[in-house]
């Protein structure tokens, strides 16, 4: 007969451990693994929520790869990543590098740069959307007009709408990246700098030969973390283009917005699931490639 009091100390611990893990395991199986599996299965089916599901093999994927909109969206998603990650990292490193050297009112300056990180993307998307409006409404164009510079189309241009939407996303992430960079900078032992200075090495050389190489773990983390964020951009695009989602002419539509449209406006669940699988593979590939490249160097 099973009696708890008869168990050894080690056996009691095993009982406790599985007791503690029971509910979490149930959660991870039902809310994480089963849906992952479900999305993959659904991507091979055709289903509009109402009728019956039918197996269609790779039809959803074939349809996706033959869809010019998908390739446009795919390109946009990589534009968000390709512009957003380097631009935000260069700016945030530049600020962190200089902020780190400032003593006077350091906490106050840091707070100014960090604040935007705490804002909600939806609220700020609307603020920026207002900034981008044409004269006499938008702040930016009013500034330009008062300086005698011609109007800039921002959200109405197929070329400039994507960078315009990216700007608030980059802006909101800077605070986090600056804080992490500064923590990385502080972790570099001062003795390295002192030794370099005694040897008469220039600041520029110190930056490239000491600071950046020693900052590599921080850099790897921020590159991967921010890339994942830009590949999954949605809130800003959705809120800044509500009158024409992903427009003008799909020039700002990212993959997540296409998924949302396909699933919850067209109710083409199988097709949307195939798109989510593609998103998953994109995220996985980009992260692994970045880790591989940055580890080697």
């Amino acid at each position: 007969m099973f009696r708890y009091s008869n168990l050894t100390v080690a056996q009691k611990q095993v009982v406790w451990a599985w007791g503690f893990l029971a509910l979490p395991i149930l959660f991870y199986v039902v809310i994480r693994f089963y849906p992952t599996f479900g999305a993959m299965v659904l991507s091979f089916q055709d289903w509009n929520l109402l009728g019956d599901k039918s197996w269609t093999g790779f039809d959803n994927y074939a349809k996706l790869f033959a869809d010019p909109v998908f390739w446009k969206v795919f390109g946009n998603t990589f534009l968000y990543l390709g512009i957003g990650t380097p631009v935000s990292l260069v700016i945030s490193f530049f600020i962190a590098y200089h902020l780190d050297k400032v003593r006077f009112m350091h906490g106050f300056l840091r707070a100014l740069y960090f604040l935007p990180f705490l804002t909600s993307a939806v609220a700020m998307a609307w603020v920026w959307r207002w900034f981008y409006q044409p004269v006499p409404i938008g702040l930016f164009n009013n500034f330009l007009a008062s300086a005698g510079i011609p109007q800039f189309p921002f959200l109405n241009s197929t070329t400039w709408a994507l960078p315009s939407i990216l700007a608030p996303a980059v802006w909101a992430g800077l605070g986090f990246q600056i804080i992490i960079f500064m923590a990385g900078l502080r972790a570099i032992p001062q003795s390295y700098y002192e030794a370099a200075r005694i040897d008469g090495v220039s600041n520029w050389t110190i930056l490239w030969e000491i600071t950046l190489p020693l900052l590599k773990p921080t850099l790897v983390f921020l590159v991967v973390f921010s890339s994942i964020g830009f590949l999954r951009i949605f809130d800003h695009v959705f809120n800044m283009t509500t009158n024409n989602p992903g427009g003008p002419l799909n020039s700002t539509k990212p993959l997540v917005l296409m998924i949302y449209d396909t699933a919850f406006n067209s109710f083409d669940m199988g097709y949307a699931a195939a798109q989510t699988v593609v998103l998953f593979l994109v995220l996985l590939t980009v992260s692994l490639v970045q880790l591989r490249i940055m580890r080697d160097r």
């Binding site: 611990q13 849906p35 659904l42 740069y113 604040l115 804002t119 207002w130 972790a187």
Partner: protein
């Protein structure tokens, strides 16, 4: 595994003061200017929320005749208050759930020796690779068949535990000496009591870091609440703000007021707990 204290102290300055020279002044002024530019969208949002409609498109930062009219108009609507409460309830419950369960799982995986421990850890960690967007469709279908659509439970069930939090807490429980736990065991505490009264107080900084991240994440969450809610009474603040702003169309002073209402609470909380929040973000960022 480095010491936790090392990472939290990186924010404290222990170095000798740098010699004052002109480049220092210029650096400070440029950083200050850049900082003002950083908060420019927030300041213009706040300023516009206090302006009369005819003044909205002027560039002046200080309203000529400040008014609370926009706030009265937006709050009279009543929906904002409701959305605010919804967001608060959801963010608070999710935060509590994460603090409890993520730390319990992190603790178990860190301090108990049993077969299968490693596999469970890897399995939980692997869910970090799965983007939320891949799960929203199955979650939606699940919510539909269980009747969870349009309910608080429906909004919050996906976020009740996170692999990120579990990993973070496991890292921090590594710093709790096994001797403490062993001593408590000899004193006759059961495992649940040991976790709660011995181990948990020792990782308080990590718990607050986790709480900040989870709260902020849920407070600003958009895509899942947008999908799972249908009726306006159950909208969260971000979803409500989208709906409200679309309705207003061109009345930017009201849209700015709505955006300000969604932003001001986090700004106040930040101003009060600045040190803890920044330290928490660094901890979560570097360990997670």
């Amino acid at each position: 595994m480095t010491d936790i204290r090392a990472s939290s102290e990186t924010l404290l300055d222990t170095r000798a003061p740098v010699k004052r020279d002109y480049t220092q002044y210029i650096r400070w002024l440029l950083l200050f200017g850049g900082g003002l530019l950083m908060i420019m969208p927030i300041t213009y949002m706040l300023s516009t929320s206090f302006k009369w409609p005819h003044e909205v498109y002027n560039l002046n930062l200080i309203p000529e005749e400040p008014t609370l009219d926009n706030y009265i108009h937006v709050l009279e609507d009543g929906r904002f208050f409701r959305w605010f409460i919804n967001s608060l309830i959801i963010a608070v419950i999710t935060t509590i759930s994460n603090v409890l369960f993520d730390s319990l799982v992190g603790y178990t995986l860190c301090k108990f020796k049993f077969r299968g421990r490693y596999i469970i850890f890897i399995a939980i960690l692997s869910t970090l690779m799965i983007p939320t967007e891949m799960l929203v469709i199955p979650w939606y279908l699940m919510s539909q068949s269980f009747g969870w659509l349009d309910s608080y439970w429906g909004i919050m069930f996906p976020g009740l535990m996170t692999a990120f939090g579990t990993f973070l807490m496991k890292q921090f429980f590594e710093t709790v000496p096994d001797d403490f736990i062993e001593a408590a065991r000899i004193d006759g505490l059961n495992e649940l009591q040991i976790w709660w009264t011995v181990a948990m107080p020792l990782v308080k900084p990590a718990l607050s870091a986790l709480a900040i991240f989870v709260f902020l994440g849920n407070w600003t969450a958009f895509i899942w609440p947008l999908i799972v809610t249908n009726s306006q009474e159950l909208y969260t603040l971000p979803v409500g703000l989208t709906t409200f702003s679309v309705e207003q169309q061109v009345e930017w002073e009201l849209i700015m007021t709505g955006a300000a209402l969604a932003t001001i609470p986090t700004l106040i909380v930040f101003l009060i707990f600045q040190r803890y929040i920044i330290r928490g973000v660094v901890m979560a960022g570097l360990k997670g």
